[in-house]
Amino acid sequence: MAPKAITSPVPDSLYPTLSVLTLAIGLVLTASFFIYEATTSRKTRSLAQELTTGAVASVFLGFGSLFLLIACGVYV
C-alpha cells in the first residue's frame, strides 16, 4: 500500500485565526466567571455554575494557548 502523507489535524494557515478566536472566547468566559464571583453574595452563589463556567473557560483557554504556541513557531 502506497504510503500516505501525514498532515496536522488543523491546516497550518488556520492556527493564528483559531488561536485568536478561542482565546477571545476563553477570556470572555473568564470575565463572566469573575463577574459572577464579584457580584453574588455567599448565600446565592452556586458551586455548579462556578465550576461549569470555570471548566468551559479553561477548555477554551487551553486550546487557545496551544494554538498560540504553535502559531508562534513553538511546535510543542
Binding site: 502506497a2 502523507a5 470555570g54 479553561s58
Partner: protein, 615 residues
C-alpha cells in the same frame, strides 16, 4: 609512504611468482578503466570492470582489494551492474551488496570487499561493473605548512596498475586534476598530461596483486571544509512541523597556515594572498524550508543569503572570518520543514523519510551524529539506514513533556556527500495521544479557576465572634435578601411586559379569550409574589445593617404594587372596550390618564431597581 609502497610491490611480485591461488584464477578482468577525480578534497575513483568467467564453475561473488592505508580512508563504496552496451549509458539499479571479507592465502596488508552478484556468472560469460570508491583525507598537503602567499600543494599516491586478486588483460588510468598547477607526477612510459587530465597506460596482461606506485603533486584550491563533529537533531511535531537543528564544528583540512594573516593583503588580492582559503559554504536544503537561522555562540550571523524554488532551498553562509589551513569555526544552522513532505503512514506504522548527511556541498564529516526526536507516546521504534551505523536510544525533555520524548541516535564516522541518501525511522503512535498536550494546558487553567473558587468559598477569619466578622456576615445576609427581592421584582416586571404584549396582540388579532387567559395567569403570579415578598421585608426590617436601604426597598415595593393595579385596570378597560366593540379613539380616551401614570411609575421603578442593584 614510499617505503611502504616499495615493500608492498616487492612482496606482491614475489607472491605472484611463488603461488597462484586456484580460487582467484577463475575470473579474468578483460578490461579495466579507472578514472580518479582529484578536483575536490574528496577523492573519487570510478572503475569500470569487464569481468569474464574463465573457469568452469559459476561465480557468485567478486573481490575488490584495497591497500590497507588507502582502505582506512575509504568512506563509501558502491558497485552497480552496467546493463548498457558501450560507454555513455549510465548504470541503473541499486548497488550490489558489499561486505568486508578476509579470504585465505592473501597478503596481509590488503583489505578485501566482496560483491555478491544477484545471479551467478556462468562459464564463459562476462559482465560489466561500475565501482565507485570515495576516499576522505587521501590528499596529503605537501608542504604541510604554508604561509598566506604560498600555494597549497597536495600529494596523492596510488597505483597505476589496478590492484586486484585477478589477472587484468587491458587497463588504463585517467586522473582528472583541478585547473591549476601540476607540480610533478610519476612518469611511466606512455604517460600524457593534456590540460588537466593525466593519462597512464594502457597496460596489458598484468598479473594479479600488481602494484605500481605513482605520486602526483598538484595544486588544489577547492574548499577543504571538514566537519570534525556534526550533530543533526530532527524533531518531529505532529502539529505540522519537522524542525532540524545542525551544530557544526568545522576546520580547514588542507595545508596548515603559518605566519601572520594580513587582512589587507587578503582583501586586496584574495586570489594571490589566500587562494586556498574559503569564505563561503553553500547548503542545499529541502524545498519549502522556513524559519532558517544561522547563529553561533556569540549570536546571529547575518552574512548569509537564502533563495528557494520548488525543488530546493539554497542557503549560502559566510562564517565570521575566512578559513585558512587549520583554522576552526563552530556554528548552528536551523530550519523548519512541513510535516507532510517527510512523515508517512503505511501498514499502521508511521515513518519519517529524511536525508542522512549534511546539506552542505562537498563537506567531509569525521563524526556524524543524527538524532531523531519522536513525539512523546511513540512506541515500537526502529530505524532503517542503507549503510551500517551505530544506533541507540535516548530521552529528551522538551515542551509540555511528562516522561520525555524518545530519541533515536545514529552515529557514523567518515561521511561524504554520497551518504546523503534517505533513511527511515518507523514508530507507532496513537492519534489520541496528541490530545495530551492541550489537556495539560486545560488542567493548568482549570486549576487556577478552582483555586479562585476555593479562595472565595473559604472562610479565613480567625475569630468567629468578633464584631467586624459578625457585621460582615449580617451585611452579606442583607445583600442576599435584597438580591432576592430584586429577582422577584424583575419577575413582576416581566409579567407586566407580558400583559402589555397581550394587549398589543389583541389589537392585532382581536382574540379576546387569549387576552383574558393571559390576564388570569398574570394575576395568579402576582398574588404569589406578594406572599413571597413578605418574609423578606420583615427580615430587612429586623436587621440593623439594612437601615439605609430599607426605605428604598419599601418604596420600590409600594410603587410596584401601584403599577400592578393600574396595569390590571387598564387591561380590564381595554378588554371591555373590545367586547363592546368600541372604536380605537374611545379606548384611548378612557385609558389616557392611567397610561401616563403607568409610564412614569415604570420609569421610577426601573431607577430604583438600578439603584438597588448597585449596592
Amino acid at each position: 609512504m614510499l617505503r611502504f609502497a616499495l615493500t608492498l610491490l616487492l612482496f606482491t611480485l614475489a607472491f605472484g611468482v611463488l603461488s597462484s591461488s586456484p580460487v582467484f584464477s577463475d575470473l579474468i578482468l578483460a578490461k579495466v578503466d579507472r578514472r580518479i577525480d582529484l578536483t575536490s578534497q574528496i577523492v573519487r575513483i570510478t572503475t569500470s570492470l569487464k569481468v569474464e568467467n574463465a573457469g568452469s564453475n559459476p561465480i557468485s561473488e567478486i573481490l575488490l582489494s584495497f591497500p590497507e592505508n588507502q582502505a582506512k580512508h575509504l568512506a563509501y563504496l558502491t558497485a552497480t551492474l552496467n546493463e548498457g552496451k558501450g560507454k555513455g549509458k549510465a548504470s541503473s539499479g541499486a548497488g550490489l551488496p558489499t561486505e568486508v571479507v578476509i579470504p585465505k592465502d592473501v597478503p596481509d596488508s590488503l583489505t578485501f570487499y566482496s560483491l555478491s552478484l544477484p545471479k551467478g556468472l556462468g562459464k564463459g560469460e562476462s559482465l560489466l561493473l561500475d565501482v565507485l570508491a570515495v576516499f576522505t583525507h587521501a590528499l596529503e598537503p605537501f608542504p604541510e605548512k604554508i604561509s598566506q602567499a604560498d600555494i597549497q600543494l597536495l600529494l596523492f599516491q596510488d597505483t597505476a596498475h589496478f590492484l586486484s586478486p585477478y589477472k587484468v588483460m587491458v587497463q588504463s588510468l585517467a586522473v582528472k586534476l583541478p585547473e591549476a598547477r601540476v607540480e610533478s607526477y610519476t612518469k611511466l612510459e606512455g604517460t600524457k598530461l593534456s590540460g588537466s587530465e593525466l593519462k597512464y597506460g594502457p597496460f596489458h596482461n598484468i598479473p594479479p596483486f600488481s602494484y605500481l606506485p605513482i605520486i602526483i603533486h598538484f595544486e588544489n584550491n577547492q574548499p577543504f571544509a571538514v566537519a570534525e563533529e556534526l550533530v543533526r537533531e530532527i524533531e518531529i511535531s505532529h502539529w505540522g512541523n519537522v524542525q532540524v537543528t545542525e551544530h557544526y564544528n568545522l576546520f580547514h583540512g588542507g595545508a596548515k597556515s603559518k605566519g601572520e594573516f594580513s587582512r589587507l593583503d587578503y582583501q586586496a588580492r584574495p586570489y594571490v594572498r589566500g587562494a586556498s582559503a574559503f569564505r563561503r559554504l553553500v547548503a542545499r536544503l529541502p524545498p519549502r524550508a522556513h524559519s532558517v537561522y544561522y547563529r553561533d555562540e556569540i549570536g546571529n550571523i547575518s552574512t548569509s543569503s537564502l533563495w528557494g524554488d520548488s525543488k530546493k532551498t539554497e542557503l549560502e553562509i559566510e562564517p565570521r572570518y575566512p578559513l585558512f589551513g587549520g583554522w576552526r569555526t563552530a556554528f548552528t544552522i536551523g530550519y523548519g520543514l512541513p510535516l507532510r513532505d517527510f512523515l508517512f503512514e503505511s501498514d499502521g506504522k508511521r515513518f519519517l523519510n529524511f536525508s542522512f548527511g549534511s546539506p552542505i556541498n562537498e563537506l567531509v564529516i569525521d563524526t556524524l551524529i543524527v538524532k531523531v526526536v519522536l513525539p512523546e507516546g511513540s512506541k515500537d521504534i526502529s530505524a532503517s539506514v542503507p549503510f551500517p551505523v551505530k544506533q541507540w536510544q535516548e530521552t529528551k525533555f522538551s515542551h509540555l513533556d511528562l516522561v520525555g520524548r524518545p530519541v533515536v541516535v545514529l552515529e557514523k564516522n567518515n561521511v561524504v556527500p554520497e551518504h546523503n541518501e534517505h533513511f527511515q525511522v518507523y514508530y507507532k503512535f496513537n492519534s489520541l495521544s496528541m490530545l495530551r498536550e492541550p489537556l495539560m494546558l486545560i488542567f493548568g487553567f482549570f486549576f487556577l479557576f478552582v483555586a479562585c473558587i476555593v479562595y472565595m468559598h473559604a472562610d479565613l477569619s480567625i475569630s468567629k465572634s468578633s464584631a467586624s466578622y459578625l457585621a460582615k456576615v449580617q451585611w452579606e445576609e442583607v445583600q442576599a435578601t435584597v438580591q432576592q427581592i430584586h429577582n422577584i421584582i424583575s419577575h413582576c416586571l416581566t409579567a407586566h411586559d407580558k400583559l402589555e404584549a397581550s394587549l398589543r396582540d389583541l389589537s392585532r388579532t382581536g382574540d379576546v379569550q387569549a387576552c383574558k387567559a393571559t390576564r388570569k395567569s398574570v394575576d395568579s403570579l402576582l398574588k404569589g409574589v406578594s406572599k413571597d415578598l413578605k418574609p423578606l421585608v420583615t427580615f430587612l426590617q429586623s436587621s440593623p445593617q439594612a437601615a439605609h436601604i430599607l426605605p428604598k426597598v419599601e418604596e420600590l415595593i409600594a410603587k410596584e404594587r401601584d403599577l400592578q393595579e393600574r396595569l390590571m385596570a387598564k387591561h380590564t378597560t381595554v378588554v371591555d372596550c373590545y367586547e363592546k366593540k368600541l372604536g380605537g379613539r374611545e379606548i384611548e380616551n378612557r385609558i389616557a390618564s392611567n397610561q401616563q401614570k403607568i409610564t412614569s411609575l415604570r420609569q421610577e421603578v426601573d431607577d430604583l431597581m438600578d439603584f438597588i442593584d448597585e449596592i
